[in-house]
């Protein structure tokens, strides 16, 4: 917000701009506009070349059967790729896996991140040390984490030993290679590694909540839980929206963990076949199916878009503003 003087000046300039009579003013405006465009040009060019162009190109590819090698050779096939995707059992399996994954991971990671942020903001001792330690998993590369988790969850690994020693399991479970557990293992790993990142965002959001609200609540005799549910959570709704959105996008794009655990196949028995993995398979593992991969990528974009919008709407309705 500017001062009244500035606002006046701006209105003056705006009023002058469209007037063709005032040649000097319009010339200046045009020059300023050009300057502005010149300054933005590098960004615009980058955005166009590396973001918009690929998006539209893959939209175009999704309607073709394409051979990108040598001389490029397109064959317009209309909606064939989309029809094939509809009839492809593997696509439905991948969709099912991905939805199950998101449905499980997003709520848990959001809730845990919020709780941890609230605790770390409450002024407990060694607050900063804890914040640093909790943030470490986010800094580690996800493929390295996957290798570590594969060791931890392996048949003779520490997790199995622990569970067997405490009598919780009779015999070690093959978490990574058994159809029922493979995806769950990835879920656990992903929650563990993404929670700190979202916790940091929540911590930043918590700084914006006025202390006076808590003080007033204390005077009225509210306990910690009531304060969390009635003050912290509603005030953090915009942050929660962001966290849920990023969580959903991250979940739908799950790739590296599934790729490493299954060696790129999506096994055992399609248990770790995610939507991004199937796109990768058609784009890079089978030659000549780039059109189909593009169609799947467009479908994934639409799905993420729809789900994110739905989630946003739901969250808004529940907000206590």
């Amino acid at each position: 917000m500017g001062t009244q003087l500035e606002i006046n000046r701006r209105t003056d300039a705006a009023a002058q701009a469209p007037s063709p009579k005032n040649g000097k003013g319009s010339e200046r405006n045009r020059r300023e506009a050009l300057q502005g465009v010149t300054f933005m040009l590098p960004t615009l060019l980058l955005l166009f070349t590396f973001t918009l162009l690929p998006i539209f190109y893959s939209l175009f590819l999704s309607f073709t059967r394409v051979n990108l090698f040598g001389g490029i050779d397109f064959q317009w096939v209309g909606f064939t790729n989309y029809v094939n995707a509809w009839n492809d059992d593997r696509v439905w399996t991948a969709l099912n896996n991905t939805f199950r994954y998101a449905l499980f991971v997003v709520p848990i990671q959001t809730a845990v991140a919020l709780l941890m942020a609230a605790v770390l903001n409450s002024g407990i001792r060694f607050q900063n040390t804890f914040r640093t330690i909790y943030f470490l998993p986010t800094l580690t590369s996800s493929s390295a984490l996957t290798m570590i988790f594969m060791f931890l969850f392996s048949l003779n690994g520490p997790i199995n030993n622990l569970l067997v020693n405490f009598g919780l399991l009779e015999a070690p479970v093959n978490f990574i290679n058994e159809t029922d557990f493979a995806l769950a293992t990835i879920m656990v790993m992903n929650i563990w590694s993404t929670v700190p990142f979202f916790m940091t965002i929540y911590l930043a959001g918590l700084q914006d909540i006025p202390r006076s609200l808590y003080e007033a609540a204390s005077l009225d005799g509210a306990n910690a839980w009531q304060k969390l549910m009635k003050i912290t959570v509603p005030n953090l709704t915009p942050v929660t929206n962001y966290v849920i959105l990023m969580g959903i996008i991250g979940c739908f794009q799950l790739f590296d963990q599934a790729y490493i655990i299954s060696g790129g196949t999506g096994g055992p028995n399609n248990a770790t076949l995610t939507f991004s993995l199937i796109i990768y398979q058609y784009a890079f593992q089978t030659i000549g199916t780039m059109g189909y991969a593009s169609a799947l990528a467009i479908i994934l974009t639409l799905i993420i878009f729809t789900v994110s919008m739905l989630a946003r709407r739901l969250n808004k309705e529940e907000s206590n503003y």
């Binding site: 300057q35 090698f69 096994g267 399609n270 890079f284 030659i287």
Partner: protein
């Protein structure tokens, strides 16, 4: 006005750069006067390989440059299959690059590999010196799309100490697959806890010869996946049984990335793996005393897999003549000797294998012997889909979620559906 012109020229300049980046390149000339090529530079695309391979490759390049005066730039791929494809599509692929036999049919069908028949003819190259299965892996439609730089086969490794401490001698290891499970069961009782009798990677690349041992190919002539014929299931069932009896395990079951590490860490007494594991174990696990044998016979017939990689010429290259010179030198007797001696790999030329006395090499002999009968890991352009589904569903059969027949039927169906809709 000045500023306007400036910004306009910025715009024009950038669009010019953009247009230049997208421009195509001219058709290459095929010339063949060696002296003309001096001072030229070509790029050769490889993957990194072991330390010994890197060193031997540098020696090979130095010798080549000295011989021909052609300079070579290396381009090393970390993720070969993905990066090479991207490079080929983008028009930035090296002049000469490694081609895995597995990918050769798909790539040659795309027209990105230059047929080498005429080059070989002009250079009077002796193609009969190459091991048959190795060079045949790069032929499609009667055209040659690469010359094998070396090959690898599968063999059986055993840990001498573990076998002897269990009260056996290496000679007790059966030479027939049919007797192997019983031996592994005996072995298991004597091994310390935490050590599995045998370890193997479970994927089609290692099992194709087992599946085909009854005479049925995994990809039929009309390009259909064939994985669930009775003879194939019968050949594979012993492996599934042995896995469920914990006689054979996969590296992932032990929390390791590949069998060579499990064997090297002495977590398994026997392993079926390629000859590349020899140098890996010698380097990383020098205390392990290992021995090697040929893969046990199935139904009396010897079998193994052969993996081979070629040098192939980029059909889009501007320096085809110089590129061919490199391929020709690297697969000549001189070049092959530098490479296979230095890298410790099996040479694809019979004459060099003899010269290096590999048939008498204690560890490598079984792998050289397999060169005569091994099944190449190559089966047309549908194999990548068939392999994907096999690798996806075999674990379900191993862990007992499905019977082997169910799993293989499903893999076959999924693969066939995909081949039908996606491959023309």
């Amino acid at each position: 006005m000045n500023k306007k012109r400036l910004s306009l020229s910025v715009l024009m300049l950038s669009s010019l750069i953009f247009a230049a980046a997208c421009g195509g390149n001219d058709e290459a000339q095929v010339a063949s006067d060696p002296s003309e090529l001096e001072g030229k530079e070509i790029t050769v695309g490889t993957w990194k390989g072991t330390d010994a391979e890197v060193k031997a490759f540098d020696e090979l390049l130095a010798a080549f440059t000295e011989e021909t005066g052609i300079n070579v730039k290396k381009k090393v791929y970390n993720d070969y299959q993905t990066q090479l494809q991207t490079d080929l599509v983008g028009g930035t692929a090296p002049d000469v690059f490694y081609v895995d036999a597995f990918l050769a049919p798909e790539l040659s069908k795309q027209g990105v590999l230059e047929p080498l028949d005429q080059y070989a003819e002009q250079a009077d190259k002796d193609l009969s010196d190459f091991y048959e299965p190795a060079i045949n892996a790069f032929k499609s439609d009667d055209q040659l799309f690469g010359l094998p730089k070396d090959y690898s086969t599968l063999g059986l490794y055993y840990n001498k100490r573990l076998i002897e401490e269990a009260g056996f001698t290496p000679d007790d290891i059966p030479t027939e697959m049919e007797q192997l499970p019983a031996f592994l069961a005996d072995l298991k009782e004597q091994l310390p806890s935490g050590v599995v009798p045998a370890i193997t990677t479970s994927e089609l690349a290692r099992h194709m010869f087992v599946l085909q041992s009854g005479g049925t190919d995994v990809v039929s002539d009309d390009r259909k996946a064939v994985l669930s014929q009775p003879d194939q299931l019968a050949a594979l069932q012993p492996l599934v049984d042995a896995y469920q009896d914990k006689l054979v395990q996969r590296p992932a079951d032990l929390g390791q990335g590949w069998a060579g590490d499990s064997f090297g860490a002495e977590r398994a007494a026997i392993m079926i793996e390629g000859n590349w594991a020899i140098s890996h174990i010698e380097q990383n696990f020098p205390d392990v005393e290992m021995g090697t044998k040929e893969v046990p016979t199935i139904g009396g017939n010897s079998g193994s897999m052969m993996f081979t990689v070629s040098y192939s010429l980029n059909s889009d290259s501007d320096e085809k003549a110089a590129g061919w010179e490199f391929i020709n030198y690297a697969t000549s007797q001189d070049g092959m000797k530098i490479w296979s001696e230095g890298a410790g790999v099996l040479p694809s030329l019979k004459s060099i294998a003899e010269e290096l006395n590999l048939q008498d090499d204690e560890l490598k002999a079984p792998f050289v012997a397999a060169g005569a009968y091994a099944t190449p890991w190559q089966k047309g352009d549908a194999l990548s889909i068939v392999a994907r589904e096999y690798n996806n569903l075999l674990p379900a059969a191993l862990t007992g979620d499905m019977t082997l027949e169910e799993a293989m039927k499903r893999a076959e169906e999924a693969a066939n559906k995909d081949i039908e809709t996606q491959l023309q």
